[in-house]
C-alpha cells in the first residue's frame, strides 16, 4: 500500500476514534455499547440526551472546525509560499474577535455576536485583499504585511476592550479569544463548507501543486495565476471564517497540521489536502474532549490544549532523523 493511502487509513481511524472517545468521555462516562444504543434509541433516556444533545453536536463541531482550520492552513501556505502562514495571517481572527467582543460587551446575544464576528472577519479579509491586490495584481509581500499589521491593530483594540470590559464578561471573551467549542452552534453548515471547499481543493490540487513552484513558473506552465490565487484566497478566508464562527480563534491547528502531514512524508497536495483535513479534525476533536474532561468540572479553552498537545508532537517529528524514510 502506498504511503498516502496508508496514512489515509490511519488518519480515518484516528478521526473516528477521536469522535468515539468524544462521545464516551465526560462527567457521565459511557461505554461504547451505551453510546451505540443511545444513538439508536427512540425513547428519551439520560444517555440519549447526553449523547445526542450534548456530546454529538460538540464532537461534530470540533471535527468540522479542525478540518476547516487545516484546510485554510494548507491553502494559505500554498498562496503565500510561506511555511509560517496560518489561517489568521490575513487578519481574519482579529476582525472576527473585534466584532464578537464588541457584541459581547454591548450585551447582545449569541446570534448577534456571531453575525458581528462574521462581519468583522470578512471585513478584515476584504480590506487585506483590497490592499494586497491593488492595480489588479498581487503583491504577496504587501498582502502578508497588511494582514499582520491589521491583526496587530485589532489585537490592540481587543486588549483595550478587555481592559474596559466589566469583570463578568471578561472570562467569556478570553475563552472566545483562546478558542472554545463549548458554545459552538450547530455544525451542519460547517460540514457542508468543509466538504465543498475540500472537494474543490482536491479537484484543483494539480494547480495548487504547480503554484507551489512560484508564480512565474506556474504561469509558464499554463496556470491562470491571478484567478487561481484569488480563488485560493477567498476559499481560505471562507474556511477560516467558518471555523472561527464555530470555536473562536483556535490557534495552532492551521499552522501545525499541514506541516505534520508533510513531515509524515506527503507533500503532493492531492493527498496533503484531505490528509491534513482528517488530521485536523481528529486532532481538534481529541483536544476538545481533553479540554472538557481533564479538569472537569472546569472546562478549559480548547485553544490552550491544541498548543499543549501540538507542541510536543511537532517537536518529536522535527527531531526525527531528516529524510530517514525516503
Amino acid at each position: 500500500m502506498s504511503r498516502p493511502l496508508a496514512l489515509l487509513a490511519v488518519l480515518l481511524l484516528v478521526a473516528a476514534g477521536a469522535a468515539a472517545v468524544g462521545l464516551m468521555a465526560g462527567s457521565h462516562a459511557l461505554a461504547p455499547a451505551e453510546v451505540l444504543s443511545a444513538l439508536s434509541a427512540r425513547e428519551p433516556t439520560l444517555a440519549r440526551d447526553i449523547v445526542l444533545e450534548l456530546r454529538l453536536p460538540r464532537v461534530s463541531a470540533a471535527l468540522a472546525c479542525g478540518a476547516l482550520l487545516a484546510l485554510a492552513g494548507v491553502l494559505l501556505q500554498v498562496l503565500l509560499r510561506n511555511p509560517l502562514a496560518d489561517p489568521y495571517v490575513l487578519g481574519i481572527s482579529g476582525g472576527a474577535g473585534l466584532g464578537v467582543l464588541i457584541a459581547m460587551l454591548s450585551g447582545l446575544g449569541q446570534a448577534v455576536a456571531s453575525v458581528a464576528g462574521f462581519g468583522g472577519a470578512f471585513g478584515a479579509a476584504l480590506v487585506v485583499f483590497g490592499l494586497g491586490y491593488r492595480a489588479g495584481d498581487w503583491n504577496l509581500y504587501r498582502l502578508l504585511l497588511t494582514g499582520v499589521v491589521l491583526a496587530a491593530g485589532c489585537g490592540a483594540l481587543i486588549s483595550l476592550l478587555l481592559v474596559l470590559a466589566p469583570q463578568g464578561t471578561v472570562k467569556g471573551m478570553l475563552f472566545w479569544l483562546m478558542g472554545d467549542l463549548s458554545s459552538a452552534p450547530g455544525a451542519g453548515w460547517a460540514w457542508a463548507v468543509a466538504l465543498a471547499l475540500g472537494g474543490l481543493a482536491v479537484l484543483r490540487a494539480g494547480t495548487l501543486n504547480v503554484l507551489s513552484l512560484g508564480r512565474l513558473k506556474a504561469a509558464a506552465l499554463g496556470v491562470p495565476v491571478r484567478a487561481a490565487e484569488t480563488a485560493i484566497y477567498f476559499a481560505a478566508a471562507l474556511a477560516t471564517v467558518s471555523a472561527v464562527m464555530l470555536g473562536g480563534t483556535i490557534g495552532f491547528v492551521g499552522l501545525i497540521v499541514p506541516h505534520l502531514v508533510r513531515l509524515l512524508g506527503v507533500s503532493d497536495l492531492r493527498w496533503l489536502t484531505p490528509l491534513a483535513m482528517l488530521a485536523g479534525a481528529g486532532f481538534l476533536c481529541l483536544a476538545d474532549t481533553l479540554a472538557r474532561t481533564a479538569w472537569a468540572p472546569l472546562q478549559l479553552p480548547v485553544g490552550v490544549l491544541t498548543a499543549l498537545l501540538g507542541v510536543p508532537v511537532m517537536l518529536l517529528l522535527l527531531a526525527r532523523r531528516p529524510g530517514s524514510e525516503r
Binding site: 494539480g206 504561469a219 506552465l221 499554463g222 507533500s267
Partner: protein, 244 residues
C-alpha cells in the same frame, strides 16, 4: 514557417527601456543563442516571448496567433520556459517535481497517469538523473536541481524551448551534454530553442543563430557563422574578447 515571431518589441520598464524595435523569427529546427551583457534585457525578452509579461510595445505571435489571445494551457503546451531562478522550495520528490511539467497536458483535473510518468522518467534519464526519482528535490545539489528543472521542461514537451541560462551550476561534462541535448532537440526533433548563453564559442558550436543585445538598446539577429566576428563581439561586450 516560424513558430514564434516577435515584431518591433520594446522591452523594459516605463522608466527604463532596455530594448527597442526587436524583431525575431524563431522557426522549428532553429537553435538561438541570446548573447549580451548583464542588464541588457535577456531575461525580460524570454519572459515576454513566453507570455509571462507584456512588452511595452510590439507583439509576439505563437504559430501566427498573438500571444495574449492564446489560452494559458494551450500556450504552455507549446512554450516551455526555464527560469533563471525558481522562487519557491518544493517539498516533494524529484519524480513528483518533473511530473508537474505534464500539468498543461493533463486531461483530467486530478493528475498524472502512467503515460505522464513514463515521459517524466524518460526526461530524467536524458538529463542523467535516472535512479534518483525518489530523492527529495531539496536534497539534490545545485547542478542536479538545474538538470531537474530542465527535465521538467523536457517532460512538458513544448515546441519552443526558452531557456534562461540553462548551463548555470552545471559541471563541464553536464554543460556539454546539455548543449548536445538541446542541439539534438532542434536538429533531430524539429523543436525551436532559444537560450541565453554567456560564451560565444559555445554559441558557435551548438547554435545556428544568435541574437545580440547591445548596451545601447539595439538588437542584432543572424546566423552564428556570420554574426559572431571578433569586432562585433568586442562591441557587444565592451571589452577585448581574444579567443572567445
Amino acid at each position: 514557417m516560424t513558430r514564434l515571431t516577435a515584431e518591433r518589441l520594446t522591452l523594459g520598464f516605463p522608466e527604463r527601456v532596455l530594448r527597442r524595435d526587436l524583431d525575431l523569427a524563431v522557426g522549428p529546427g532553429d537553435s538561438w543563442a541570446v548573447l549580451g551583457n548583464n542588464g541588457t534585457g535577456k531575461t525580460t525578452l524570454l519572459h515576454v516571448l513566453g507570455g509571462l509579461r507584456p512588452a511595452l510595445s510590439g507583439r509576439v505571435l505563437l504559430d501566427g496567433v498573438e500571444l495574449p489571445r492564446v489560452a494559458h494551457a494551450a500556450r504552455a503546451r507549446k512554450i516551455g520556459l526555464l527560469l533563471q531562478e525558481e522562487a519557491a522550495a518544493f517539498w516533494g520528490t524529484l519524480l513528483e517535481y518533473v511530473l508537474l511539467g505534464r500539468y498543461p497536458h493533463r486531461r483530467w483535473m486530478l493528475g498524472a497517469d502512467a503515460a505522464d510518468e513514463a515521459l517524466a522518467r524518460a526526461a530524467l534519464e536524458r538529463v542523467d538523473l535516472a535512479g534518483r526519482e525518489a530523492r527529495m528535490l531539496s536534497t539534490l545539489s545545485g547542478g542536479e536541481r538545474q538538470r531537474a528543472r530542465l527535465a521538467l521542461i523536457l517532460a512538458q514537451d513544448p515546441d519552443v524551448y526558452l531557456l534562461d541560462e540553462p548551463l548555470q551550476h552545471l559541471d563541464l561534462r553536464h554543460q556539454l551534454e546539455t548543449l548536445a541535448l538541446l542541439r539534438s532537440l532542434a536538429q533531430q526533433h524539429g523543436k525551436a530553442v532559444v537560450m541565453v548563453l554567456h560564451e560565444p564559442a559555445r554559441a558557435r558550436r551548438f547554435c545556428n543563430r544568435a541574437l545580440l543585445l547591445f548596451e545601447d538598446g539595439r538588437s542584432l539577429p543572424g546566423p552564428v557563422d556570420e554574426l559572431l566576428g571578433r569586432d562585433v563581439l568586442e562591441r557587444l561586450y565592451g571589452c577585448p574578447v581574444e579567443g572567445a
